[in-house]
Amino acid sequence: MRGSAASLSRRESWARRLPLIPAFVYVFLVTQIPFALTVYYSFFSWNLLQPGSFRFAGLDNYAALLTNESIRTAVWNTVLLTVSVIAISVILGLAVAMLLNSEVFGKGIMRTLMIAPFLIMPTAGALVWKDTLLNPLFGLLPYLLTPFGLSRIDWIGRAPMATVVAVEVWRWTPFMMLIILAGLQSQNPEVLEAARVDGANAFQAFRRITLPLVRPFIELGALLGSLFVVQTFDSIYMLTYGGPGEDTTNIPFLLYIVAFQGFSIGQASAIGVIAVIITIIVATFALRTLFSIFQVEARR
Protein backbone atom coordinates (compact mmCIF):
# COMPACT_ATOMS: atom_id res chain seq x y z
CA MET A 1 0.00 0.00 0.00
CA ARG A 2 2.66 2.40 1.12
CA GLY A 3 5.03 1.19 -1.58
CA SER A 4 2.54 1.83 -4.35
CA ALA A 5 1.88 5.36 -3.08
CA ALA A 6 5.58 6.07 -3.12
CA SER A 7 6.02 4.72 -6.62
CA LEU A 8 3.03 6.70 -7.78
CA SER A 9 4.52 9.88 -6.43
CA ARG A 10 7.81 9.02 -8.06
CA ARG A 11 6.03 8.52 -11.36
CA GLU A 12 4.18 11.73 -10.76
CA SER A 13 7.39 13.59 -10.04
CA TRP A 14 8.94 12.24 -13.25
CA ALA A 15 5.86 13.26 -15.18
CA ARG A 16 6.27 16.73 -13.79
CA ARG A 17 9.91 16.85 -14.70
CA LEU A 18 9.55 15.38 -18.18
CA PRO A 19 8.57 18.58 -20.04
CA LEU A 20 11.64 20.22 -18.61
CA ILE A 21 14.11 17.66 -19.87
CA PRO A 22 14.45 18.49 -23.59
CA ALA A 23 15.21 22.16 -22.94
CA PHE A 24 17.54 21.34 -20.09
CA VAL A 25 19.50 18.73 -22.03
CA TYR A 26 19.74 21.00 -25.06
CA VAL A 27 21.02 24.01 -23.14
CA PHE A 28 23.32 21.85 -21.07
CA LEU A 29 24.94 20.24 -24.11
CA VAL A 30 25.40 23.37 -26.18
CA THR A 31 26.68 25.60 -23.36
CA GLN A 32 28.45 23.40 -20.84
CA ILE A 33 30.42 21.16 -23.19
CA PRO A 34 31.97 24.06 -25.10
CA PHE A 35 32.74 25.81 -21.84
CA ALA A 36 34.36 22.67 -20.41
CA LEU A 37 36.42 22.40 -23.61
CA THR A 38 37.46 26.05 -23.25
CA VAL A 39 38.78 25.33 -19.77
CA TYR A 40 40.49 22.18 -21.09
CA TYR A 41 42.13 23.93 -24.08
CA SER A 42 43.33 26.74 -21.83
CA PHE A 43 45.87 24.31 -20.35
CA PHE A 44 47.29 23.42 -23.75
CA SER A 45 49.52 25.14 -26.23
CA TRP A 46 47.95 24.78 -29.64
CA ASN A 47 48.37 26.75 -32.83
CA LEU A 48 45.80 25.82 -35.45
CA LEU A 49 48.17 26.61 -38.29
CA GLN A 50 50.84 24.25 -36.99
CA PRO A 51 49.63 20.65 -37.15
CA GLY A 52 50.95 18.62 -34.25
CA SER A 53 51.56 21.66 -32.07
CA PHE A 54 48.98 20.44 -29.52
CA ARG A 55 50.77 19.83 -26.22
CA PHE A 56 50.08 20.20 -22.52
CA ALA A 57 51.24 23.57 -21.25
CA GLY A 58 49.99 23.64 -17.67
CA LEU A 59 49.40 27.19 -16.55
CA ASP A 60 51.65 28.69 -19.24
CA ASN A 61 48.77 30.40 -21.03
CA TYR A 62 47.64 32.07 -17.83
CA ALA A 63 51.20 33.00 -16.89
CA ALA A 64 51.66 34.49 -20.35
CA LEU A 65 48.46 36.47 -19.94
CA LEU A 66 49.53 37.85 -16.58
CA THR A 67 52.73 39.25 -18.06
CA ASN A 68 51.03 40.32 -21.26
CA GLU A 69 50.23 43.99 -21.77
CA SER A 70 47.35 43.20 -24.17
CA ILE A 71 45.15 41.41 -21.65
CA ARG A 72 45.56 44.17 -19.07
CA THR A 73 44.64 46.77 -21.68
CA ALA A 74 41.66 44.67 -22.74
CA VAL A 75 40.40 44.20 -19.18
CA TRP A 76 40.77 47.92 -18.55
CA ASN A 77 39.01 48.82 -21.80
CA THR A 78 36.18 46.40 -21.00
CA VAL A 79 35.66 47.95 -17.57
CA LEU A 80 35.96 51.50 -18.89
CA LEU A 81 33.53 50.85 -21.74
CA THR A 82 30.97 49.03 -19.60
CA VAL A 83 31.00 51.46 -16.69
CA SER A 84 30.83 54.60 -18.80
CA VAL A 85 28.19 53.29 -21.20
CA ILE A 86 25.95 52.09 -18.37
CA ALA A 87 26.41 55.20 -16.22
CA ILE A 88 25.74 57.64 -19.05
CA SER A 89 22.85 55.72 -20.55
CA VAL A 90 21.15 55.29 -17.17
CA ILE A 91 21.32 59.04 -16.51
CA LEU A 92 20.14 59.94 -20.00
CA GLY A 93 17.54 57.18 -19.93
CA LEU A 94 16.17 58.46 -16.63
CA ALA A 95 15.99 62.01 -17.99
CA VAL A 96 14.19 60.96 -21.17
CA ALA A 97 11.86 58.65 -19.23
CA MET A 98 10.88 61.52 -16.95
CA LEU A 99 10.23 63.74 -19.97
CA LEU A 100 8.05 61.06 -21.53
CA ASN A 101 6.21 60.53 -18.25
CA SER A 102 5.26 64.21 -17.99
CA GLU A 103 2.51 66.03 -19.86
CA VAL A 104 4.38 66.52 -23.13
CA PHE A 105 2.76 66.60 -26.58
CA GLY A 106 3.10 63.50 -28.75
CA LYS A 107 4.34 61.08 -26.08
CA GLY A 108 3.50 57.99 -28.10
CA ILE A 109 5.39 59.10 -31.21
CA MET A 110 8.31 60.28 -29.10
CA ARG A 111 8.61 56.87 -27.45
CA THR A 112 8.34 55.11 -30.80
CA LEU A 113 11.10 57.19 -32.36
CA MET A 114 13.22 56.96 -29.22
CA ILE A 115 13.47 53.15 -29.23
CA ALA A 116 14.68 53.03 -32.84
CA PRO A 117 18.42 53.15 -31.97
CA PHE A 118 18.02 50.04 -29.84
CA LEU A 119 16.22 48.13 -32.59
CA ILE A 120 18.57 49.07 -35.44
CA MET A 121 21.03 46.28 -36.21
CA PRO A 122 24.19 47.19 -34.24
CA THR A 123 26.47 46.60 -37.22
CA ALA A 124 24.24 48.83 -39.36
CA GLY A 125 24.11 51.55 -36.71
CA ALA A 126 27.88 51.53 -36.25
CA LEU A 127 28.43 51.68 -40.01
CA VAL A 128 26.08 54.64 -40.41
CA TRP A 129 27.86 56.48 -37.59
CA LYS A 130 31.30 55.72 -38.93
CA ASP A 131 30.82 56.55 -42.58
CA THR A 132 27.94 58.94 -43.00
CA LEU A 133 28.05 60.86 -39.72
CA LEU A 134 31.66 60.88 -38.49
CA ASN A 135 33.77 60.56 -41.64
CA PRO A 136 36.06 63.64 -41.56
CA LEU A 137 35.61 64.36 -45.26
CA PHE A 138 32.03 63.43 -46.09
CA GLY A 139 30.39 63.02 -42.70
CA LEU A 140 27.65 65.29 -41.46
CA LEU A 141 28.98 65.93 -37.96
CA PRO A 142 32.39 67.40 -38.87
CA TYR A 143 30.54 69.64 -41.35
CA LEU A 144 28.05 70.82 -38.73
CA LEU A 145 30.88 71.50 -36.27
CA THR A 146 32.86 73.62 -38.72
CA PRO A 147 31.52 76.93 -37.32
CA PHE A 148 32.81 75.87 -33.90
CA GLY A 149 36.36 75.42 -35.15
CA LEU A 150 36.08 71.62 -35.00
CA SER A 151 36.08 71.09 -38.72
CA ARG A 152 37.29 67.91 -40.36
CA ILE A 153 38.15 66.22 -37.11
CA ASP A 154 38.66 62.48 -37.39
CA TRP A 155 36.68 61.55 -34.27
CA ILE A 156 37.32 57.83 -34.56
CA GLY A 157 41.07 58.38 -34.90
CA ARG A 158 41.36 61.15 -32.30
CA ALA A 159 39.02 59.81 -29.63
CA PRO A 160 38.38 56.16 -30.48
CA MET A 161 37.13 55.03 -27.07
CA ALA A 162 34.90 58.08 -26.66
CA THR A 163 33.41 57.35 -30.08
CA VAL A 164 32.66 53.73 -29.22
CA VAL A 165 31.16 54.85 -25.90
CA ALA A 166 29.02 57.46 -27.69
CA VAL A 167 27.64 54.96 -30.20
CA GLU A 168 26.92 52.42 -27.47
CA VAL A 169 25.25 55.09 -25.30
CA TRP A 170 23.10 55.99 -28.30
CA ARG A 171 22.04 52.36 -28.48
CA TRP A 172 21.54 51.64 -24.75
CA THR A 173 19.83 54.86 -23.62
CA PRO A 174 16.52 53.74 -25.20
CA PHE A 175 16.81 50.42 -23.36
CA MET A 176 17.26 52.17 -20.00
CA MET A 177 14.51 54.64 -20.89
CA LEU A 178 12.01 51.84 -21.58
CA ILE A 179 12.65 50.08 -18.27
CA ILE A 180 12.71 53.26 -16.16
CA LEU A 181 9.59 54.58 -17.90
CA ALA A 182 7.76 51.40 -16.95
CA GLY A 183 8.79 52.11 -13.35
CA LEU A 184 7.61 55.71 -13.49
CA GLN A 185 4.29 54.66 -14.93
CA SER A 186 3.67 52.33 -12.01
CA GLN A 187 3.82 55.37 -9.73
CA ASN A 188 0.63 56.69 -8.21
CA PRO A 189 0.40 60.35 -9.31
CA GLU A 190 -1.64 61.22 -6.23
CA VAL A 191 1.36 60.58 -3.97
CA LEU A 192 3.38 63.10 -5.91
CA GLU A 193 0.47 65.54 -5.82
CA ALA A 194 0.19 65.14 -2.06
CA ALA A 195 3.90 65.89 -1.67
CA ARG A 196 3.44 69.04 -3.75
CA VAL A 197 0.59 70.13 -1.51
CA ASP A 198 2.78 69.49 1.53
CA GLY A 199 5.21 72.02 0.10
CA ALA A 200 7.88 69.76 -1.38
CA ASN A 201 9.61 71.34 -4.38
CA ALA A 202 10.21 69.44 -7.60
CA PHE A 203 13.72 68.34 -6.62
CA GLN A 204 12.64 67.12 -3.17
CA ALA A 205 9.70 65.24 -4.64
CA PHE A 206 12.05 63.61 -7.15
CA ARG A 207 14.61 62.59 -4.54
CA ARG A 208 12.23 61.46 -1.83
CA ILE A 209 9.43 59.85 -3.83
CA THR A 210 10.26 59.20 -7.48
CA LEU A 211 13.84 58.00 -7.12
CA PRO A 212 13.18 55.36 -4.42
CA LEU A 213 10.30 54.06 -6.52
CA VAL A 214 12.27 53.69 -9.76
CA ARG A 215 15.46 52.50 -8.08
CA PRO A 216 14.78 48.79 -8.61
CA PHE A 217 14.06 49.51 -12.27
CA ILE A 218 17.30 51.46 -12.63
CA GLU A 219 19.20 48.62 -10.99
CA LEU A 220 17.57 46.05 -13.22
CA GLY A 221 18.34 48.08 -16.35
CA ALA A 222 21.92 48.75 -15.28
CA LEU A 223 22.65 45.13 -14.44
CA LEU A 224 21.01 43.58 -17.50
CA GLY A 225 22.63 46.27 -19.62
CA SER A 226 26.09 45.63 -18.22
CA LEU A 227 25.82 41.91 -18.98
CA PHE A 228 25.26 42.88 -22.62
CA VAL A 229 27.74 45.77 -22.81
CA VAL A 230 30.53 43.62 -21.31
CA GLN A 231 30.22 41.58 -24.51
CA THR A 232 30.38 44.53 -26.92
CA PHE A 233 31.86 43.32 -30.20
CA ASP A 234 29.83 44.53 -33.18
CA SER A 235 30.45 48.24 -32.84
CA ILE A 236 34.15 47.83 -32.06
CA TYR A 237 34.56 45.58 -35.08
CA MET A 238 32.80 48.08 -37.32
CA LEU A 239 34.07 51.39 -35.90
CA THR A 240 37.68 50.88 -34.86
CA TYR A 241 38.59 47.22 -35.29
CA GLY A 242 40.04 47.42 -31.78
CA GLY A 243 42.43 50.21 -32.71
CA PRO A 244 44.25 52.43 -33.09
CA GLY A 245 46.82 50.10 -31.56
CA GLU A 246 44.81 48.38 -28.86
CA ASP A 247 43.01 51.50 -27.67
CA THR A 248 39.53 50.03 -28.06
CA THR A 249 40.32 46.32 -27.79
CA ASN A 250 38.07 44.78 -25.14
CA ILE A 251 38.07 41.14 -24.01
CA PRO A 252 35.75 39.72 -26.69
CA PHE A 253 37.70 41.53 -29.38
CA LEU A 254 41.06 40.40 -28.01
CA LEU A 255 39.82 36.81 -27.98
CA TYR A 256 38.70 37.19 -31.58
CA ILE A 257 42.12 38.53 -32.60
CA VAL A 258 44.08 35.87 -30.70
CA ALA A 259 41.88 33.03 -31.94
CA PHE A 260 41.27 34.03 -35.55
CA GLN A 261 44.27 36.16 -36.46
CA GLY A 262 46.85 34.42 -34.25
CA PHE A 263 45.20 30.99 -34.26
CA SER A 264 46.44 30.40 -30.69
CA ILE A 265 43.66 28.21 -29.37
CA GLY A 266 45.20 27.78 -25.92
CA GLN A 267 45.75 31.50 -25.38
CA ALA A 268 42.30 32.37 -26.67
CA SER A 269 40.73 29.80 -24.36
CA ALA A 270 42.51 31.26 -21.35
CA ILE A 271 41.08 34.67 -22.30
CA GLY A 272 37.65 33.03 -22.53
CA VAL A 273 38.03 31.68 -19.00
CA ILE A 274 38.97 35.15 -17.74
CA ALA A 275 35.91 36.58 -19.51
CA VAL A 276 33.76 34.08 -17.62
CA ILE A 277 35.30 35.06 -14.28
CA ILE A 278 34.63 38.74 -14.94
CA THR A 279 31.07 37.97 -16.04
CA ILE A 280 30.40 35.86 -12.96
CA ILE A 281 31.36 38.83 -10.80
CA VAL A 282 28.93 41.09 -12.67
CA ALA A 283 26.25 38.43 -12.98
CA THR A 284 26.17 37.53 -9.30
CA PHE A 285 24.82 40.98 -8.60
CA ALA A 286 22.56 40.97 -11.65
CA LEU A 287 20.93 37.65 -10.90
CA ARG A 288 20.40 38.51 -7.25
CA THR A 289 18.48 41.61 -8.32
CA LEU A 290 16.43 39.67 -10.85
CA PHE A 291 15.58 37.04 -8.28
CA SER A 292 14.58 39.54 -5.62
CA ILE A 293 12.17 41.10 -8.09
CA PHE A 294 10.70 37.73 -8.96
CA GLN A 295 10.38 36.74 -5.32
CA VAL A 296 8.38 39.87 -4.60
CA GLU A 297 6.14 38.85 -7.45
CA ALA A 298 5.71 35.29 -6.25
CA ARG A 299 4.49 36.46 -2.84
CA ARG A 300 1.34 37.94 -4.32
Binding site: P34, Y237, E297
Partner: protein
Protein backbone atom coordinates in the same frame (compact mmCIF):
# COMPACT_ATOMS: atom_id res chain seq x y z
CA UNK B 1 -6.36 81.60 -15.18
CA UNK B 2 -2.79 82.79 -14.83
CA UNK B 3 -1.91 79.45 -13.24
CA UNK B 4 -3.38 77.55 -16.17
CA UNK B 5 -1.47 79.76 -18.57
CA UNK B 6 1.79 79.13 -16.74
CA UNK B 7 1.12 75.41 -16.67
CA UNK B 8 0.44 75.45 -20.38
CA UNK B 9 3.64 77.38 -21.06
CA UNK B 10 5.57 74.88 -18.96
CA UNK B 11 4.02 72.04 -20.90
CA UNK B 12 5.05 73.60 -24.21
CA UNK B 13 8.56 74.22 -22.96
CA UNK B 14 9.05 70.60 -21.84
CA UNK B 15 7.52 69.35 -25.06
CA UNK B 16 10.08 71.33 -27.04
CA UNK B 17 12.92 69.99 -24.87
CA UNK B 18 11.58 66.46 -25.28
CA UNK B 19 11.28 66.70 -29.03
CA UNK B 20 14.82 68.08 -29.36
CA UNK B 21 16.21 65.16 -27.32
CA UNK B 22 14.19 62.59 -29.28
CA UNK B 23 15.27 64.19 -32.54
CA UNK B 24 18.95 63.88 -31.57
CA UNK B 25 18.54 60.18 -30.79
CA UNK B 26 16.44 59.45 -33.85
CA UNK B 27 18.57 61.52 -36.21
CA UNK B 28 21.12 58.82 -37.17
CA UNK B 29 18.24 56.56 -38.22
CA UNK B 30 16.63 59.38 -40.19
CA UNK B 31 19.98 60.22 -41.78
CA UNK B 32 20.44 56.58 -42.76
CA UNK B 33 17.08 56.69 -44.54
CA UNK B 34 17.89 60.01 -46.24
CA UNK B 35 21.27 58.77 -47.43
CA UNK B 36 19.61 55.63 -48.77
CA UNK B 37 17.28 57.76 -50.90
CA UNK B 38 20.12 59.72 -52.52
CA UNK B 39 22.35 58.99 -55.49
CA UNK B 40 25.97 58.11 -54.73
CA UNK B 41 27.41 61.57 -55.57
CA UNK B 42 24.75 63.23 -53.37
CA UNK B 43 25.36 60.82 -50.48
CA UNK B 44 29.10 61.45 -50.35
CA UNK B 45 29.18 65.14 -51.12
CA UNK B 46 30.90 67.83 -49.14
CA UNK B 47 29.08 69.84 -47.87
CA UNK B 48 26.36 67.21 -47.30
CA UNK B 49 23.34 67.32 -49.58
CA UNK B 50 20.24 68.34 -47.66
CA UNK B 51 17.78 68.99 -50.50
CA UNK B 52 17.46 66.35 -53.16
CA UNK B 53 14.96 64.41 -55.21
CA UNK B 54 14.55 61.02 -53.51
CA UNK B 55 15.28 57.95 -55.60
CA UNK B 56 14.93 54.23 -54.92
CA UNK B 57 17.85 53.50 -57.21
CA UNK B 58 20.14 52.21 -54.45
CA UNK B 59 17.47 49.99 -52.94
CA UNK B 60 17.09 48.44 -56.39
CA UNK B 61 20.87 48.01 -56.67
CA UNK B 62 21.06 46.31 -53.27
CA UNK B 63 18.03 44.09 -53.81
CA UNK B 64 19.06 43.23 -57.34
CA UNK B 65 22.62 42.48 -56.25
CA UNK B 66 24.11 39.98 -53.84
CA UNK B 67 22.17 41.08 -50.75
CA UNK B 68 19.07 38.78 -50.91
CA UNK B 69 20.90 35.51 -50.02
CA UNK B 70 22.26 37.17 -46.84
CA UNK B 71 18.79 38.39 -45.95
CA UNK B 72 17.30 34.95 -46.55
CA UNK B 73 19.97 33.33 -44.35
CA UNK B 74 19.10 35.77 -41.57
CA UNK B 75 15.44 34.95 -41.96
CA UNK B 76 16.04 31.19 -41.86
CA UNK B 77 18.33 31.38 -38.82
CA UNK B 78 15.95 33.68 -36.92
CA UNK B 79 12.66 32.00 -37.73
CA UNK B 80 13.81 28.41 -37.28
CA UNK B 81 15.65 29.14 -34.02
CA UNK B 82 12.67 31.09 -32.68
CA UNK B 83 10.40 28.16 -33.51
CA UNK B 84 12.74 25.76 -31.70
CA UNK B 85 12.80 28.06 -28.66
CA UNK B 86 9.00 27.96 -28.47
CA UNK B 87 8.82 24.20 -28.94
CA UNK B 88 11.48 23.43 -26.33
CA UNK B 89 10.77 26.39 -24.06
CA UNK B 90 7.02 26.16 -23.58
CA UNK B 91 6.96 22.70 -21.95
CA UNK B 92 9.91 23.68 -19.76
CA UNK B 93 8.25 26.92 -18.72
CA UNK B 94 5.08 24.98 -18.04
CA UNK B 95 6.91 22.56 -15.76
CA UNK B 96 8.51 25.47 -13.90
CA UNK B 97 5.33 27.52 -13.54
CA UNK B 98 2.29 25.26 -13.21
CA UNK B 99 3.66 22.13 -11.60
CA UNK B 100 6.79 23.34 -9.86
CA UNK B 101 9.34 20.59 -9.50
CA UNK B 102 11.85 20.35 -6.72
CA UNK B 103 14.73 22.71 -7.33
CA UNK B 104 12.67 25.03 -9.51
CA UNK B 105 14.77 27.97 -8.40
CA UNK B 106 17.99 26.10 -9.25
CA UNK B 107 16.63 25.28 -12.68
CA UNK B 108 15.69 28.90 -13.34
CA UNK B 109 19.10 29.97 -12.17
CA UNK B 110 20.81 27.44 -14.41
CA UNK B 111 18.92 28.57 -17.50
CA UNK B 112 19.56 32.24 -17.01
CA UNK B 113 23.21 31.80 -16.09
CA UNK B 114 23.82 30.14 -19.46
CA UNK B 115 22.36 33.19 -21.22
CA UNK B 116 24.96 35.37 -19.61
CA UNK B 117 27.88 33.06 -20.11
CA UNK B 118 30.05 35.24 -22.35
CA UNK B 119 29.97 34.31 -26.01
CA UNK B 120 33.74 34.51 -25.82
CA UNK B 121 33.81 31.52 -23.49
CA UNK B 122 32.36 29.11 -26.00
CA UNK B 123 33.40 30.54 -29.34
CA UNK B 124 36.66 28.61 -29.76
CA UNK B 125 35.27 25.12 -29.01
CA UNK B 126 32.13 25.81 -31.05
CA UNK B 127 34.32 26.88 -33.95
CA UNK B 128 36.41 23.72 -33.67
CA UNK B 129 33.34 21.50 -33.28
CA UNK B 130 31.71 23.14 -36.28
CA UNK B 131 34.91 22.64 -38.26
CA UNK B 132 35.14 18.95 -37.35
CA UNK B 133 31.45 18.34 -38.04
CA UNK B 134 31.65 20.09 -41.43
CA UNK B 135 29.26 22.75 -40.13
CA UNK B 136 31.40 25.81 -40.81
CA UNK B 137 29.60 28.24 -43.07
CA UNK B 138 26.45 26.17 -42.57
CA UNK B 139 23.24 27.87 -41.46
CA UNK B 140 22.47 24.86 -39.27
CA UNK B 141 25.30 25.84 -36.89
CA UNK B 142 23.83 29.32 -36.44
CA UNK B 143 20.35 27.89 -35.88
CA UNK B 144 21.68 25.63 -33.11
CA UNK B 145 23.57 28.49 -31.45
CA UNK B 146 20.76 31.04 -31.69
CA UNK B 147 18.36 28.52 -30.18
CA UNK B 148 20.77 28.13 -27.28
CA UNK B 149 21.16 31.88 -26.81
CA UNK B 150 17.41 32.47 -26.78
CA UNK B 151 16.09 29.40 -25.01
CA UNK B 152 16.87 30.65 -21.47
CA UNK B 153 15.14 33.95 -22.24
CA UNK B 154 12.21 32.02 -23.69
CA UNK B 155 11.83 29.80 -20.63
CA UNK B 156 11.88 32.75 -18.22
CA UNK B 157 9.58 34.88 -20.30
CA UNK B 158 7.02 32.16 -21.00
CA UNK B 159 7.06 31.19 -17.33
CA UNK B 160 6.22 34.77 -16.34
CA UNK B 161 3.16 34.64 -18.60
CA UNK B 162 2.13 31.19 -17.36
CA UNK B 163 2.24 32.38 -13.75
CA UNK B 164 -0.63 34.72 -14.59
CA UNK B 165 -3.02 31.91 -15.57
CA UNK B 166 -5.26 30.94 -12.64
CA UNK B 167 -4.19 27.49 -11.48
CA UNK B 168 -7.83 26.36 -11.19
CA UNK B 169 -8.08 26.26 -14.95
CA UNK B 170 -5.49 23.49 -15.16
CA UNK B 171 -7.02 21.55 -12.31
CA UNK B 172 -10.42 21.70 -13.95
CA UNK B 173 -8.92 20.44 -17.20
CA UNK B 174 -7.16 17.61 -15.42
CA UNK B 175 -10.36 16.57 -13.67
CA UNK B 176 -11.95 16.45 -17.11
CA UNK B 177 -9.21 14.02 -18.06
CA UNK B 178 -7.15 16.25 -20.35
CA UNK B 179 -3.76 14.86 -21.31
CA UNK B 180 -0.60 16.92 -21.06
CA UNK B 181 -0.52 17.56 -24.79
CA UNK B 182 -4.15 18.53 -24.67
CA UNK B 183 -3.58 20.83 -21.74
CA UNK B 184 -0.75 22.64 -23.54
CA UNK B 185 -2.50 23.00 -26.88
CA UNK B 186 -6.06 23.70 -25.71
CA UNK B 187 -5.49 25.78 -22.59
CA UNK B 188 -1.96 27.12 -22.42
CA UNK B 189 -1.35 28.22 -25.98
CA UNK B 190 -4.52 30.32 -26.43
CA UNK B 191 -4.10 31.94 -23.01
CA UNK B 192 -0.51 32.96 -23.45
CA UNK B 193 -0.67 34.10 -27.06
CA UNK B 194 0.75 37.50 -25.99
CA UNK B 195 3.56 35.64 -24.22
CA UNK B 196 4.36 33.67 -27.35
CA UNK B 197 4.39 36.93 -29.31
CA UNK B 198 6.73 38.61 -26.80
CA UNK B 199 9.05 35.61 -26.80
CA UNK B 200 9.13 35.43 -30.58
CA UNK B 201 9.86 39.15 -30.78
CA UNK B 202 12.78 39.00 -28.39
CA UNK B 203 14.23 35.88 -30.04
CA UNK B 204 13.89 37.55 -33.42
CA UNK B 205 15.69 40.69 -32.24
CA UNK B 206 18.62 38.83 -30.72
CA UNK B 207 19.11 36.32 -33.52
CA UNK B 208 18.51 38.73 -36.39
CA UNK B 209 21.04 41.24 -35.05
CA UNK B 210 23.60 38.67 -33.88
CA UNK B 211 27.08 39.27 -35.26
CA UNK B 212 29.79 37.64 -33.11
CA UNK B 213 29.07 34.00 -33.97
CA UNK B 214 27.90 34.84 -37.48
CA UNK B 215 31.16 36.56 -38.42
CA UNK B 216 33.29 33.76 -36.97
CA UNK B 217 31.34 30.72 -38.09
CA UNK B 218 30.16 31.73 -41.55
CA UNK B 219 31.87 33.20 -44.58
CA UNK B 220 29.77 33.15 -47.73
CA UNK B 221 27.17 30.41 -48.15
CA UNK B 222 25.52 30.82 -44.74
CA UNK B 223 26.48 34.44 -44.05
CA UNK B 224 23.71 36.60 -42.56
CA UNK B 225 22.67 40.22 -43.14
CA UNK B 226 25.16 41.82 -40.68
CA UNK B 227 28.00 40.04 -42.51
CA UNK B 228 26.91 41.67 -45.75
CA UNK B 229 27.40 45.05 -44.07
CA UNK B 230 31.00 44.20 -43.18
CA UNK B 231 31.91 44.46 -46.85
CA UNK B 232 31.24 48.21 -46.61
CA UNK B 233 33.84 48.86 -43.89
CA UNK B 234 36.56 49.65 -46.38
CA UNK B 235 34.28 51.83 -48.51
CA UNK B 236 35.95 55.22 -48.82
CA UNK B 237 33.02 57.50 -49.45
CA UNK B 238 32.18 55.78 -52.67
CA UNK B 239 29.22 53.66 -51.65
CA UNK B 240 27.44 55.66 -48.96
CA UNK B 241 24.02 55.51 -50.57
CA UNK B 242 24.33 51.79 -51.18
CA UNK B 243 25.62 51.29 -47.64
CA UNK B 244 22.69 53.24 -46.21
CA UNK B 245 20.19 51.32 -48.34
CA UNK B 246 21.67 48.00 -47.22
CA UNK B 247 21.72 49.11 -43.57
CA UNK B 248 18.08 50.23 -43.85
CA UNK B 249 16.96 46.94 -45.36
CA UNK B 250 18.96 44.86 -42.89
CA UNK B 251 17.44 46.76 -39.94
CA UNK B 252 13.90 46.84 -41.24
CA UNK B 253 12.40 43.55 -39.91
CA UNK B 254 13.49 44.12 -36.31
CA UNK B 255 12.64 47.82 -36.38
CA UNK B 256 9.11 47.11 -37.62
CA UNK B 257 8.56 44.18 -35.27
CA UNK B 258 9.80 46.22 -32.31
CA UNK B 259 7.64 49.19 -33.19
CA UNK B 260 4.53 47.07 -33.66
CA UNK B 261 5.05 45.11 -30.45
CA UNK B 262 6.29 47.93 -28.19
CA UNK B 263 4.27 46.63 -25.25
CA UNK B 264 5.93 43.22 -25.38
CA UNK B 265 9.37 44.72 -25.82
CA UNK B 266 10.03 45.82 -22.22
CA UNK B 267 8.66 42.62 -20.80
CA UNK B 268 10.77 40.58 -23.18
CA UNK B 269 13.97 42.53 -22.57
CA UNK B 270 13.64 42.12 -18.82
CA UNK B 271 12.69 38.44 -19.12
CA UNK B 272 9.27 39.11 -17.70
CA UNK B 273 10.41 41.09 -14.65
CA UNK B 274 8.89 44.38 -15.84
CA UNK B 275 5.39 44.46 -17.27
Amino acid sequence: MIGALAANRKRILWSVVGWVVVFVFFFPVLWMWLEALKTEPQAASSPPTIFFVPTLEEFQTVLGGDFPPFFINSAIASVVSTFLVLVLGLPAAYALAIRPVKRTQDMLFFFISTRFLPFAASLVPLYLLARDLQLLDNIFALILIYTTINLPLGVWLLRSFLLEIPIDLFEAARVDGATFRHEILRIVVPLIAPGLAATSLICLIFSWNEFFYAVNLTSSVAATAPIFLVSFISGRGLFYAKLAAAATLASLPVLLAGWIAQKQLIRGLTMGAVK
